[in-house]
Symmetry: C2
Subunit: 261 residues, 2 copies
Amino acid sequence: MSTGRSTPSSPTPGERRSRGRGIPDATVARLPLYLRALTALSERSVPTVSSEELAAAAGVNSAKLRKDFSYLGSYGTRGVGYDVEYLVYQISRELGLTQDWPVVIVGIGNLGHALANYGGFASRGFRVAALLDADPNLTGQQVAGLPVRHMDELEEIIAADRVSIGVITTPPGAAQQVCDRLVAAGVTSILNFAPTVLSVPDGVDVRKVDLSIELQILAFHEQRKSADESVAAPEAASVAVVSRRAREHAAPHVTLEEAAG
Amino acid sequence: MSTGRSTPSSPTPGERRSRGRGIPDATVARLPLYLRALTALSERSVPTVSSEELAAAAGVNSAKLRKDFSYLGSYGTRGVGYDVEYLVYQISRELGLTQDWPVVIVGIGNLGHALANYGGFASRGFRVAALLDADPNLTGQQVAGLPVRHMDELEEIIAADRVSIGVITTPPGAAQQVCDRLVAAGVTSILNFAPTVLSVPDGVDVRKVDLSIELQILAFHEQRKSADESVAAPEAASVAVVSRRAREHAAPHVTLEEAAG
DNA sequence: TAGATTGTTAATCGATTAACAATC
DNA sequence: TAGATTGTTAATCGATTAACAATC
C-alpha cells in the first residue's frame, strides 16, 4: 500500500501473510468457533462440509471463513468442500490443542467454583492442575473432585506441573498481587475474571472476561433502541441541555498509580 | 476516502461521526473501562485527570482515549484535563446506566449462582429481577437472597418487570430454546454464557462470553512462544510434513441446521 | 505570558466483503 | 464435460496512532 497501488511490485497477500508467520488476531479468535462447529459435525459422522454450511453453523459469512482458512493453508477441495476430520485436526494443531495445557485457578469463590466444574476445559487440551485460595478454611475442601490448596503452594505447583496458564477469579483487590506471583513463578498466559486492569511484563499475555462490561455494552444498545422509537435525534438535543456543573473546578494534576491497581 | 485524498471536499471526521450519530463499536466497548477508572478516582475525591493519566489507569494509550471522548463531545478543558465527576456522569448517561435495567438469569447452575452473587451488577444500573431454572427441585430455593423461580413463570416475569436483558447460563442444549422464549416474551438483549451460536431476529443483540474460547486463544499464543524458543520457522516446516490422510474421502454435501442448534 | 493539555487531522494499519478465476 | 466450490484478489470499511494547532 505504501509503494503505490498500480505497480505489480507491491507486496502480495501471500508475501504479507508469510511475513512473521502471522495469523491475524481476528482469525485466531474465530478458530475456536469453527472447531466447535466441526466437532459437532464430526460427532454426527459428517464427512465433508462446504464453507457456506460451516460458516452458517459458526455464525460468520463464508467469505470470511475461507479467508481465515487460507491463512492456515489450502485444506479444502474445490468443488467438494472441507474434510471434517482433517480440518478438526489442523485447527486443533494450529491452536495448540493437541498438547496438554495444565492450568491453575486462583480464587475459589462462586466463579472459581463454576470454572472448576466447567466441562469445556477438559474436553479440549486443558487440565485443571490445581485450585488455589488464600483462605485457610477452604484448604483441603473438595471442589469438582480436586482439593483446594493454599496460596503458599502456588510457586511449587506451577514449577512441578509446568503450568503456563493461570486463571484469576479473586476479588479485584487481590488480582494484581496474584498476577505478579503467577508471572514470577513462570506463568506466561493469564485469563483474568477480576474487574481490574492487570499490568504484566512483555511476553505475558492477558485476556480478560468482564461480565459487567458486557452488560454495559448491551445497555448502551438497548438504550439506543428505546431512543429510536421516540424522536429522530433525541440524544443530540439533550446533550446540549445537560448541566455543565463542575466544569469550573479546575485543579492540579494527580497521579493515579494507586487508583489503577 | 472514496472521493480521493487530495480534494478538500471529502467527508471530514466530523461529518462522518454525525452520520447516524454513531459511536464506533470499539469506542463503546472501552467506555466501561474508562468509567471504572473514573469511579475509582471519584472515590478518592480526585477532581481532575489528564488523558495521559486516565489512559494509563484504563490500560489504553492517550490518543485513543481522546479520540474516544471526542465522539461523546468536548468534555475536557485544554491545559487542565477532564473533570472526574462530570465525565463519570456523561459516560454513565451515554451507556444508559442512569436508568434501571432489570435482568433475568436463566439457568441456576454453578455459573448462574456465581452471576447472581456477582457484586458488579447492582453497583451499575443492573438489578436481578429473577432467577429462573427448569428444575422443579430448585424452585423456591434461595440464591443470593432471591428465590429461584420456575421457567413456567418466564413470560409473566418479563412482562411484569419490563425486562429487556436476559442472561443465559443453561447447558448448551437448552440455550437456543431459552433464547427463543426470552425473545418472544420481549427481551431484546441477551448475554450468552452457553457455548452455542444463538440465532435471533433482527433488532435483538447478543453478546457471548465463552470461557473455553478465551483459553484456546491463550493456548495459541502460548504455543507460539515455545515455538519461537526453538527454531526460526518450525511451524512452516511441519505443516508440509503433516499427513494428508482423509483428503481423499470426498462425499455429498450435508445440511447442518441441526448440528448448529 | 508560558506551560500544559485537549480535540482533530491525516496517515497507517488491520479486518471485512464481494466477486471470480482456478480447479476439483 | 458441466456443476460446484475453493482460494485469492482488490476494494472498502473501520480502528489505531502520532503529531500538532487550538486554547485554557
